[in-house]
Each structure stands twice: as C-alpha cells, then as structure tokens.
C-alpha cells in the first residue's frame, strides 16, 4: 500500500552541530524553503553502531531566526540598505518524545530532520499506542489530537483538571467539548448510551442551551468538526435543571432568565433532608472548630433520622415526636430546640460554645436555603418530578449561578454525594459518570476542611475505580487541594495569569510553554497527557451547541420570518 503524498513525512532541515544535540533536546537548522512551527512533530533517524537505526521523534519547542554575520544591533539597518551581506539562519529546538527502539542517544549533527506526517506523526505523539482514543482538539497545524481513553476512564488513570483565567481561558467550553467528543463518537462503545455527565452551571446561563444547535457556526468551524470526525450539532440528550423561583406557590417554576421551556426546577424535600443526611452540607464552610461542630452535625443527623417518622399525609415531610414537621423552617426550629435543651441527648457533652456556634451556622444556612427555596415541605406538589434525575438524560445541567454561595455549596455537595453513593452501590466502573465542576478552589480549597472537599477528595482518589470522573476547573490551581490536582491524569491550561504561571503547580509546563500560556487565545489550550512527555498546544472547535440565547438556532415554527418563505 502506498502512502498518500500529503501523509508522507517531508524533509525540513538538518540537525545542527553548533548547539549541543542531546538525547532529550536538539536543534534543527531549517532549510530556506521549509518551515517548522511550535509543536510540529519531527523525526530523525540516527545510526547507532551495533544497534541499527534509532528513530528519535520529538516536538518543536522553540524556533529562532537570526542574521549570521551581523555582529551589532545596528547591522540590521545596513542589511536593510543592502550594504552588509549576511545569511539568515532559522533553527528549531526539538524536545524528544520517543525513541524507537529505546536507545537514548542524541541525533548526529548533519542528519536530515523530517516533519512527521501520517503514521510517523501518530508514532511521535504515541497515538499508535492508544487503543481507544478520543479527540481532544486540533493541533496547531490542524491535525486531530487524541487523548488516551485508558487514562480517562479509570483503566490506567482518570480525571481532567483545567486551569485558566476566567473569561478568556474557555475552561468550561473545553470541558463540554471533551464530553461532546466522548458522547458523539464511538469511543465509549456499548456503554455510550448509559454514560452520564453532571455539569454545574456556575456562571451566566451559558450551559442552558446545550440542547440547541448553534446558529452562528461558520463553514470553517463546521469543517473543524469534520476533521475530528464528529457530527455538528447540539448535545443529543440534555436535562436542564434550575433552582425554583420564589413566590410561585406549590408549583416550582425554574428561575431562568434566558429561556422559558425545557428547564425543570429542582428542590429537595424535608424528608429527603432528614433521611439522606444533608444537614452537613449546610455547614459546608471550612473553619477551625470543625471537629467539634462536625461531631454535633453528625449526631443531629443521626438523631433526626432515627426519631423522625414518615409523614403519612405528605410525601415531602416527616413527623417528629408525633407532630408533623411541615416545612424546612419547622425542621430547623426542631433541631435548634433539641440541641439547646441541656437534657437532650442530641447535644451530648458538647460545650455551650460549640452549640452556639452550631446554631449560628444553622441559622445562616437556613436563611440562604430558604432564600433560594431549596428545601420544600407540605407546599410541594409532585416533589419526585423536581428531584434532580441524572439517569433521565446523558448530560444533566444543574444551574447554580443564581444561588448564594452557601446554597451553591449545599447543592453541589448534595448532588456529588448522591452521585458518589450511587456509583459506590453499583460497584463497577462502567458505565462512567462524569462530573464537570468549575471553581474547584471554592469547593476543594487548599486550606481548611469542608464536607464538599471531603466528597471531592473521595471522587479524586476513589473515583477512578468507581468510574466517576471529575473534570474540574479553576482559575488558579495554586488554590486547589493538591491531591485533587495530583490525581488528574490530564492537565489542561488555558490563558494563565503571568504570575500564576510561575507557581510550582505548573511545573509540568516548560519555561517557553509558560510564557505561551499567558498569550493563549480563547479556544486554545495547552494539554498535558500521560503518554506525551511535554505539553502540547491545541485548539478546539467553536461549540456547535448554542451558548447564548442569540446563538440558539430559530426553528421553523418560531421563526418570525418563516411565514414569508415561499412568497
């Protein structure tokens, strides 16, 4: 079988001998009629006495051009005037990624270097060793870049961590692109249908349009999808959930500004709160007195569960001491009364100060949950319909952007815990469950302890074997719990603040790449994956799903001009 011409590697220059060639890094003099750009894959075959040919593959890390023969900065003006003759030299630094066979020798100066194409490129980037691969974007020269699913689904590793400045780093968009690629390609095989994702919408209503095609996609952007072998369109199966709007009576109306249909309001009932032990997520703030208060929270949770009976009159409420607890307020009052009672077994032998601190936090948490109508009592009509159901759709978006900080922690804590327990009960990895969570620094901060951080650490450390995959994002990785990041097989970086890029959390980025991270455009990321020893810049296609109301494609029925067609 012959190789297609454009798929054959082409000579671009020679290994130079004026810079040291080492096994890990060497320079290639670029021929005047060729070019090499950052991240290009390059191969050099070098003869090793007694071992035959060793193929060294690598990626271009730096390219430089200079005048040879010019000694002083002002020479450039003479050169421009045609007075001083010089040669122009272009050289590219290649960082080796692979030796085949593994003999770690430098390439000999003078050997031809080729830009790797087709099969050679796949080998340079280890794509040939990825038995199951999912597209992760496009390389700078427009070729597909792949991720090894083995390192994403828990077989050999799991989790993705994305860092970058808010607004320009397009962290969430990239996370959604990864999900799109997973769910709309055959890579997941038979489990594709049952693989689920829960996505928290933390900013704006960007993710509330995942189910709608993007009407503003240009032809060039469509072609990107073609190159990646992905369909162009919205997510096929999406469930949208938003917190309820206030003052709507027993009907829970979703609190969403940009769209009026297709979104379900979510809340939990007093009975769920008691039975599933959600109280701890009201106390989801990192603080010093945690051991004492956490102890009391655990006691109260277990007493509540033990002493409350199901209310026979309503599925959302419970009876405590024979009296119905009709609302979340009444529940909080009951808790308060019991812990403040010196003779109640609920408080045990904890000091008054601890109880006071507990009550203070309970009151403020209760105020916030009430404000956002997250726990319903007897007013709830059909509460089952409003319980977030991630089994119903492939992608479940939970909108929390309108919620107060404390309520956000409550919702994320409860949802992640439920999902985690669900996966624990299933006891096997497949089908996978993905969890997309931005602002990780808020939920798993480096300093302090909180119930959500504990759940997230569980996910990071045990999620790999349970098939629960965290795609976490944050503005600054330096503020996120180390173990959450350390457990991520894939590290992705969008535009980084220059000072942040210097921190040790980004030690995997070589110095040149760090500088590049501070000029990345939206839609470009730097991807580090276990197979490839150096991070590679990629770009990913513009979302083919709408991210704003004005991108949502008007369908024929609602198009105000539709009626005029055919005139």
């Amino acid at each position: 079988m012959s190789v297609e011409p454009e798929m054959a590697s082409e000579p671009v220059g020679l290994v130079i001998g004026t810079e040291d060639a080492t096994p890990l890094s060497f320079w290639v003099g670029v021929s005047p009629d060729a070019y090499l750009q950052l991240d290009d894959a390059v191969i050099v075959d070098t003869e090793v006495p007694g071992r035959g040919t060793v193929r060294i593959a690598g990626l271009v890390q730096e390219v430089r051009a200079r005048h040879e023969g010019a000694t002083f900065d002002t020479d450039v003006f003479l050169i421009d005037r045609g007075v001083l003759p010089v040669d122009t030299a272009v050289a590219a630094q290649v960082v080796a990624t692979r030796f085949e066979p593994e003999v770690f020798v430098p390439p000999m100066p003078g050997l031809p270097a080729l830009r790797a194409r087709g099969k050679d490129r796949d080998e340079a980037l280890y794509f040939d060793q990825m038995t199951r691969r999912v597209v992760g974007g496009l390389s700078r020269d427009g070729e597909p870049m792949f991720l090894d699913l083995d390192f994403l689904d828990g077989t050999r590793g799991a989790h993705v961590n994305i860092s970058g400045v808010s607004g320009v780093a397009t962290k969430t968009t990239y996370a959604m692109f990864l999900l799109y690629a997973l769910f709309h390609s055959p890579v997941l095989g038979g489990y594709r249908g049952n693989t689920k994702a829960i996505v928290f919408n933390v900013k704006g209503e960007d993710l509330m349009w995942l189910d709608t095609p993007n009407a503003r996609l240009t032809q060039a952007q469509r072609e990107d999808y073609e190159r990646l072998d992905l369909p162009v369109g919205p997510f096929e199966s999406v469930g949208l959930w938003a917190p309820p709007r206030g003052g709507a009576g027993g009907q829970a109306i979703p609190h969403v500004e940009s769209r009026s249909n297709g979104v379900t309001a979510y809340y939990w009932t007093v009975r769920e709160f008691v039975r599933e032990k959600y109280l701890r997520f009201l106390f989801a703030e990192a603080d010093d007195e945690r051991s004492q208060i956490a102890d009391l929270v655990a006691r109260v949770e277990s007493f509540l569960d033990r002493e409350c009976e199901d209310d026979p009159d309503h599925e959302a409420t419970v009876l405590h001491g024979g009296y119905p607890v009709r609302s979340f307020d009444e529940l909080c009052d009951a808790i308060r009364a019991n812990v403040e009672d010196d003779h109640s077994p609920w408080r045990g032998r904890l000091s008054d100060a601890t109880v006071a601190a507990f009550v203070r936090r309970l009151d403020s948490g209760r105020f916030r949950l009430d404000q956002n109508h997250l726990i319903w009592g007897r007013e709830a009509e059909d509460p089952r319909r409003h319980r977030i159901d991630w089994e119903a759709n492939q992608v479940t978006v939970v909108d929390i952007h309108n919620l107060h900080d404390r309520a956000k922690r409550f919702v994320t804590g409860v949802v992640i815990k439920r999902l985690f327990e669900h996966k624990e009960r299933m006891g096997r990895r497949e089908p996978l469950a993905f969890l997309v969570l931005d602002e990780l620094n808020r939920y798993a901060p480096r300093e302090g302890w909180s119930p959500i951080k504990e759940v997230l650490l569980d996910v990071a450390e045990r999620g790999r074997s349970l098939g629960m995959i965290l795609i976490g994002a944050e503005q600054t990785a330096s503020e996120v719990e180390r173990r959450v990041i350390a457990n991520s097989a894939f590290r992705v970086v969008g535009r980084l603040d220059t000072a942040e890029a210097q921190r040790s959390e980004y030690g995997f980025l070589p110095a040149v790449t760090r500088s590049r991270a501070s000029i990345l455009k939206p839609g470009s990321m730097i991807l580090q994956q276990p197979h490839i020893p150096i991070p590679v810049q990629i770009r990913f296609p513009f979302p083919s799903w709408a991210t704003r109301a004005d991108e949502a494609a008007p369908d024929a029925s609602t198009d105000p001009f539709g009626a005029f067609e055919g005139d």
């Binding site: 045609g82 007075v83 001083l84």
Partner: protein, 319 residues
Amino acid sequence: MVVLRADPWAPEYGMGFQARLEEELPVADPLVETLDWSTPLSPTPAEEGPVWFVDGVRRVELRLLAEDGGRRAPGLFGSFAIGSVCCDGRATFDEHQVGRAVVAGGGVMPGRVEVSVGVQRVAFEPATEPSLDPDRPLWKLQNLMQEAEAAMAARVSARAGRLVVVDGPLSFFHPTDAPVVGMVKRFSRHYLEDGREHLLALLGPGERTPLFALGDEDQPVQRYAWYLRLVPLRVPWHDQAGIVRCEVRAGVGLDTAVGLADRVTALLPAYAGRPTDPRAPQNLAPVGGLEAWLRHRMGDGRLLRRALLRWMVEGEEGG
C-alpha cells in the same frame, strides 16, 4: 605648536596613513583629466544599479622549514578564500572559492599534501619561490590569492555592464580592459606634490580629486587613479583619514575612467565601513561582511594545524 590628530584605525592594523615600501608604480602624472587642482570634484549622485565587491582573505596555517638534500628554505602551509558580494538593494554573497597552498622558498618545490580533517580531505597545492627571504612564502601566498581575486573580478565584470570594486590595488594578473575598480584602503605612498596633495584635506564625502595617471618609465600611463572621501571628517582625525585611492586600468580609456570615477565616488560613501570595524571607514561594510564570511569558509585553523602535524607524525612513522 604641534597639532596632534588621530587615525581612526585600530592600532593593531597599523595606520590608514602609512607610507609603505611596496612595489608601486613610481611615476604619476596629475594633469590627465584637468589642470585645475584647486577644488574637489563632486559628481552627481550615482545611477542605481548593482555593484559587486570582490575581496580575499588569507591565513598561514603552519610555518615550515623545507629541507631538500641539505638545502633549507623557509615555507608555509597557507589557505586563502576569495569571494564577491552583490549589492543591488540587497547585499548577497555571490560566488566564492577556497585555495590552499604549501609554499617553500629557495626554489624548493614541495609535493602536494593531502590531509584528513574530520570526514573531509583537504589538499594543499605546491608552490615555490626562488628567494630565501623568510617573508617571501607569505608574499607568494598573497600573490596566489590576488591572482584568483583578479580572475574572479574579471569573470564577474565580464558579464556586461557590471561595476566591480576590488578591495586592494589592481594586480598585474589578468590585465583585462574590464571596468574593474581597485580600491586601496591604505595611504601608502605620496603620488602628488604637496601643492596638489593639499586638495585631499578639502575633500568632502562623495567628492574626489581629479584623475592622475600612474605608470613607470617605460609606460607612463598604466592606470588612472583618484582619491575620494567616504565619510565626513571628524574633529579628532587627521585630514587624510577616511580617504581611499581608487584606480582603473588605463586600457578602459580616459572617458570611461572619468565616468567610473564619478560613479564610484558618488556610490562608495553609502558603503562606508561600520564604525565598529577596526579599519573603519575605509574597510567598506560589504567587504567587512565578506571577509568574515570568507574567513569562516577557510575552515577552523586549529583543526587544520592539528591535521597537518598529525600528517607529519604519520609520515615519519610510515616512512
């Protein structure tokens, strides 16, 4: 009071102004173009068009003492490189050529020497000089270089309408009638009487003296020469700094010579040497660039020296 004025060249290159004992044409006739030596001539700005600069560099690799049946003579291994730069809006290196010679004095003719440097084979062609003067082998190497330089200048200028400026005086080799201009950086001999030499101090950049003829007793008009100034005179300098002497062969005819003199005089200030050059401003910028490039093309002197010594050791062991 004694007035002290500086010479712009770096001291290790001697002095731009230095009367030197060299074979130069002794007879000068200052009246070939005009009788009026009172004011400088300022040609109008030069027409556009390519100009070629030709130059060569040489290096002694190893000095020798050659022995031939009891006769001992000084000698050397030497390399030279010649090349050209084309300036036509852009300055680009044109053809170049590297030569190597093993030279012995006293009429001793050495054999051809071929040594290995890395993966390359390098050959030194034999040459000899009758004199036993220790400086003569170097003089011979210089001659070999100039010969090649003159051939290259003739070759380049043979392509019609090309203005070629050779660095250094015109040699006696390849006496063609081609419009090749020799440019002498060093002021090595007084050709003019004091009354006329006074005009040199008055030259501004891009201005020249009238042409004067150079020759010997038998043939008094062999070349036409003139002085021109490259850059404005600066205060610390003596008034003959920044001046070069150019010459063309008389064979081109007086009219052509005047035309060439005007064109070259207007042209050269644009190519004046960089202030950072140790022989600024007389060492023109393209020539400075070319010299560095050519020196590089001769290869690494340390490697050649080592290869030659090894060749001698191996010859000793083998023989």
